[in-house]
């Protein structure tokens, strides 16, 4: 902001490069945890808002669909890299409840793309022992996509590796609302009293329940936009947010490691000491 800004940025950039080189040489896990990452500080649950496919395509004079295809490739590579680095849960924001407002051809293309991803990419991902689940309001998706989803979830159910959540027709407000409806039904049926509703009730009924690490430690949003766009709102209460300038199709494994490094330097206090 001031005129010292660029100079300071330069120095701190050099300083962090130096720190990384020193850390790399002293890192015992060099092979698995490159570039000075510490095993004990790795995020357990990473969430990604895969923004910027359309802008990437427009910048190159390509149709929007090719932007989404490029994004699909990147998502696969990032998922595999996260799995290799020992991340326990990865959630990606593929389609929001608000994306239905996009042009019909684009929405139609995306639905077909999701079917293709399930039929081809998911096979590769399950070979890395990933357990795949789709979160979101599946009832609004095309029937063909719904049945593919059910099959994919069933077949990867017994895998023991990283859990991959793909958010399709999902939003944070939708998730909280559907959890409230489930809780309200239990109250109506006498299983629960209104007074007993607490944060645990929500933790149990949100779409990310039933897993060990339901709340992301780190959220990465590409394309430089500084907002959450109605992604996982409840679960992001204490999540470290990282906004990256690059468009999603340009995001590579190096950027992912850089994001983890930045995460590991943050001090999380959770409101206490």
């Amino acid at each position: 902001m001031g005129s010292n800004g660029p100079i300071i940025a330069c120095f701190s950039g050099l300083a962090s490069l130096l720190k990384l080189r020193l850390a790399a040489t002293s890192n015992a896990d060099g092979g698995k945890y490159p570039g000075g990452l510490k095993r004990e500080l790795m995020p357990k649950h990473v969430a990604i808002i895969m923004d910027g496919n359309r802008r990437w395509a427009k910048n190159r004079g390509l149709p929007v669909q090719l932007g989404h295809k490029a994004g699909e490739e990147v998502m696969k590579r990032i998922a595999i890299k996260c799995s290799q680095l020992g991340v326990k849960v990865l959630t990606v924001f593929a389609f929001s409840t608000e994306n239905w407002l996009r042009p019909q051809e684009e929405v139609g293309f995306l639905m077909k793309l999701f079917e293709q991803v399930i039929q081809t990419d998911f096979n590769e991902l399950t070979r890395h022992d990933m357990q795949i689940s789709i979160i979101g309001d599946k009832s609004r998706l095309p029937k063909s996509l719904q049945s593919l989803i059910t099959t994919a979830e069933e077949s990867s159910k017994s895998n023991k590796g990283m859990r991959l959540f793909v958010a399709l027709n999902y939003s944070g407000r939708y998730d909280i609302t559907q959890a409230t409806k489930k809780i309200a039904s239990k109250v109506r049926d006498g299983i629960l009293s209104a007074q007993d509703i607490d944060e645990g009730s929500f933790d149990q009924h949100l779409e990310t329940s039933q897993i060990d690490f339901p709340n992301p430690d780190l959220l990465i949003r590409t394309s430089g936009e500084l907002r959450l766009s109605n992604f996982m709102l409840w679960q992001l209460a204490y999540t470290e947010l990282l906004f990256v300038q690059k468009l999603f199709p340009e995001f590579n494994e190096g950027d992912l490691l850089e994001a983890f490094r930045s995460f590991q330097q943050r001090q999380r206090r959770y409101g206490g000491v």
Partner: protein, 285 residues
């Protein structure tokens, strides 16, 4: 003689700065001005450590910064300002610190009621938002008194979040929605005409998004346009999770007591940059 010259010079300087600021705001107002800005006041303790002050002094410096920022916001034309004053998580801090903050809050709330306070100067309506039952009796009563005293003000609004977390707010809204639906269903069951009742039961059984929103503590204000968190930390810390779903997030490195006009201007300029996109979305939904 020299003293009165100094005073005159001081006044002249102050007026010039104020004139430049008002001119700057006029220029900014050519573009859209955010209706609601929310602030996470982070960094008071680090500020105190940095300047070797007692921890309590950090909070006091933070309060002064708050008064300036509120003034700038209202001068600029921002109608709603929300601040994260005290989280339910903050009760976990050392008892001495919690007690100090509570005492300071009591002192400042009582200050709000005074004639010359910012509340009366700018016609600010005050809301204390959060699970107020968790506060000490005297702080809660002072808060309620302040809310009542300022209830006729309508030019601008300040929402002070104390004993607040967003997850607690959502749980509370869910409880209230359930209880309201339960009462509705009960009253329908008591009525005479059974066929109509059955249909109404099915329809009103479903809790909708609007029901939850209605029962939120923050339901008295529209969603924030910008959320500012100072001290360089980029996380929400359980603040306004529901309401910031599409809000611009800005996290300057400055500690809260160091926040100034330039940060506010930067935030507003960024807001104006993305405004066309937000408007398009709003029209579509």
């Amino acid at each position: 003689m020299e003293n009165s010259m100094d005073r005159f010079a001081g006044r002249l300087f102050g007026s010039t700065v104020s004139y430049i600021r008002r001119f700057l705001f006029r220029v900014l107002s050519v573009g859209p001005i955010p209706n609601h800005i929310a602030f996470i006041l982070d960094g008071n303790r680090r500020y105190a450590k940095k300047w070797n002050l007692g921890e309590g002094m950090g909070h006091r410096a933070g309060f002064l910064a708050l008064m300036s920022i509120m003034k700038y916001c209202y001068e600029l034309g921002v109608k709603y300002v929300t601040i994260y004053a005290f989280s339910i998580d903050n009760f976990k801090r050392r008892p001495e610190e919690v007690q100090y903050v509570m005492d300071m809050m009591l002192e400042k709330i009582e200050g709000l009621l005074k004639e010359e306070s910012i509340v009366n100067q700018y016609g600010v309506r005050v809301y204390f938002v959060g699970n107020l039952k968790l506060l000490n009796e005297n702080v809660r009563m002072a808060a309620e008194k302040a809310m009542k005293a300022a209830s006729n003000n309508s030019r601008s609004v300040i929402l002070i979040c104390v004993a607040y977390t967003s997850t607690d707010e959502i749980v509370h809204a869910a409880q209230e929605s359930c209880e309201e639906k339960w009462t509705e269903i009960q009253s329908l069951t008591d009525a005479r005409n059974c066929e109509i009742i059955e249909e109404k039961r099915e329809g009103s059984n479903v809790i909708k998004l609007a029901d939850i929103e209605r029962h939120m503590y923050m339901g008295v204000a529209p969603d924030p346009d910008i959320l500012v968190r100072t001290s360089g930390e980029t996380r929400l810390s359980n603040f306004l999770l529901w309401q910031t779903s599409n809000c611009l997030l800005y996290s300057p490195r400055a500690l809260w007591p160091e926040i100034g006009l330039r940060h506010l201007v930067w935030a507003v300029l960024n807001f104006q940059r993305i405004y066309p996109y937000l408007e398009k979305r709003r029209k579509n939904i």
